[in-house]
């Protein structure tokens, strides 16, 4: 809807809802994609995104029309994910595996040549905060400033963390490289 006023609080509830649907709910899939990468399982990710959107609605009157809604939503979501992680940090991590059905068994014979997935392996080995920065800056293409606000850290930290993440990835991706000898020692150390 055309509106020069960037103050949502002055709009009627109905118009706020329309705005919310047009500006916020269009990002659900993108939020969910990142949440799925950052959470332990997909149902946790679903919960987080739903909570994010309900929270976003609660504070929707504070959202400035014309500013970046995706970044605003991510900020709420990252905050919720961090809180969730904190509350989980004292709980044992448990991987639940459902009994496989035969259809899956036949479909997924193990093939041990996993080298083409080296990048994902390497990503999995990165500490969480480095993975997060890769998702936010490299994949979602948020600016350092936006990422800094989301993660509640100084911009310098975003810059050095991303650089470190890249270097770690480089090291993990080319373990046979001659200038990566200390990485080889991992297995023998």
């Amino acid at each position: 809807m055309a509106n020069d006023n960037n103050n949502l609080a002055l709009l009627s509830t109905e118009d706020q809802l329309e705005n919310f649907e047009n500006l916020a709910l269009i990002h659900t899939q993108i939020l969910l994609r990142t949440a799925t990468r950052m959470c332990t399982n997909s149902s946790e990710a679903d919960d987080i995104v739903q909570e994010t959107l309900l929270r976003a609605w609660k504070y929707w009157h504070t959202f400035e029309l014309g500013s970046n809604c995706r970044a605003w939503l991510f900020r709420i979501m990252i905050n919720l994910i961090h809180r969730r992680r904190e509350s989980l940090s004292n709980t044992a991590e448990h991987i639940s595996v459902d009994e496989p059905n035969m259809a899956n068994v036949l479909k997924f014979e193990p093939k041990l040549e996993m080298d083409e997935h080296g990048a994902l392996v390497a990503l999995n080995r990165l500490p969480t905060e480095y993975r997060d920065i890769i998702f936010l800056v490299l994949i979602e293409e948020f600016s350092y400033k936006e990422a800094a606000i989301m993660l509640n850290v100084p911009m310098g930290t975003v810059m050095s963390r991303l650089h470190r993440a890249r270097q770690m990835m480089k090291k993990l991706l080319c373990p046979d490289n001659e200038d990566n000898e200390d990485n080889e020692n991992i297995a023998t150390a």
């Binding site: 009627s12 509830t13 109905e14 809802l17 919310f20 709910l25 659900t28 899939q29 799925t36 990468r37 950052m38 332990t40 399982n41 997909s42 995104v49 739903q50 959107l53 992680r85 004292n90 044992a92 991590e93 448990h94 991987i95 639940s96 595996v97 459902d98 009994e99 496989p100 899956n104 068994v105 479909k107 997924f108 014979e109 193990p110 041990l112 996993m114 080298d115 997935h117 990048a119 994902l120 392996v121 999995n124 500490p127 993975r131 800056v137 994949i139 600016s143 350092y144 810059m159 991303l162 650089h163 890249r166 990835m169 480089k170 991706l173 373990p175 991992i186 297995a187 023998t188 150390a189």
Partner: protein, 305 residues
């Protein structure tokens, strides 16, 4: 700013790639890169890493077909919840005041009486919810399929898999779709029973450790996560090639980011790695339990020599 050395330039390369440096610094870096081969090489390597990561994650995204269904479901739940919240507020206001006063009020900043459009919309949502139940039922197979076969990409459980390639396996599908019994049988091992040590089995899957095939068995003790990796002859050979100095049954301690301690012990024609946040005593107890359970230790000294 012109006198930055290679190390300082190096630290700026990521920000340079993202265009996050101010103009002066960008020029400084660009000038340096023109003259310095090693920094240029580093920039290229970092660019390659970024491109690879982007490609691989976006490819993985494409395979996760559950996202659309899940986000549609979330959106209808959210809309429904918001609508009912507004309705509740509306009813509250209507109950506590006179109908006409609200409808005729000119100064009501937040117009709580919804115009028909949204009411109709909310009804539509309610009705479509019923329809979507049917659709969800129909697509249940698909959703279950993805939930069990793809799992979350790069999820938080990665911390338990410092050594192995488990999560990306779950992503391409067979980590969660392979019977445990068959894996144990194929590797000709019995699942180590460590319950007397208070260590309980939770899951297993095949994976790779430093490019060698292993069976990864996950255990827990209280809130500690313990991993046992079993490698048969093939893994032993690969390790032998690479790490010629491994001594059988010698304890290897290692500290690295999230991985606290790893111990390697060898048995006849196979290799066990014990990993987790463990004390030396716990590792000793587990490795000796493994030794007792294994058939023979007599030939183990031939390994890795």
């Amino acid at each position: 700013m012109n006198l930055l050395n290679c190390h300082q330039i190096n630290e700026l390369l990521s920000a340079y790639l993202e265009n996050e440096l101010d103009t002066t610094t960008t020029l400084t870096v660009a000038n340096h890169l023109e003259k310095c081969l090693s920094c240029e090489k580093e920039l290229k390597a970092l660019t390659n890493v970024s491109n690879l990561v982007k490609t691989v994650i976006r490819e993985a995204d494409k395979t996760d077909l559950s996202l659309v269904a899940r986000s549609n479901k979330i959106n209808s739940l959210v809309k429904d919840e918001i609508t009912s919240k507004i309705k509740a507020t509306e009813n509250l206001v209507l109950a506590s005041s006179n109908d006409n006063s609200i409808k005729t009020s000119q100064n009501n900043i937040v117009k709580l009486n919804l115009r028909p459009k949204w009411s109709a919309l909310s009804k539509k949502i309610f009705l479509s919810l019923a329809a979507s139940v049917a659709i969800i039922c129909l697509s249940l197979f698909t959703i279950t399929y993805y939930a069990t076969s793809t799992g979350p990409l790069l999820s938080g459980v990665a911390r338990n898999h410092q050594f192995c390639s488990a999560i990306e396996i779950s992503n391409i599908g067979w980590h969660k779709g392979y019977p445990k019994e068959r894996l144990l049988q194929a590797n000709n091992i019995n699942l180590p029973k460590l319950d007397t040590l208070g260590v309980h089995f939770s899951d297993l899957h095949p994976c790779k450790v430093y490019k060698a095939p292993f069976l990864h068995m996950m255990y827990s003790k209280g809130d500690k996560q313990i991993s046992l990796y079993y490698g048969s002859q093939e893994a032993v050979n690969k390790f032998q090639e690479k790490f010629k100095t491994i001594t059988p049954n010698e304890l290897y301690l290692h500290q690295e980011s999230n991985l606290q301690i790893a111990a390697i012990s060898t048995q006849k024609n196979n290799l066990w790695i014990v990993a987790g946040d463990l004390t030396k005593e716990e590792i000793n107890a587990i490795t000796s339990e493994l030794a007792i359970n294994s058939l023979s230790n007599t030939e183990e000294s031939k390994l890795f020599h």
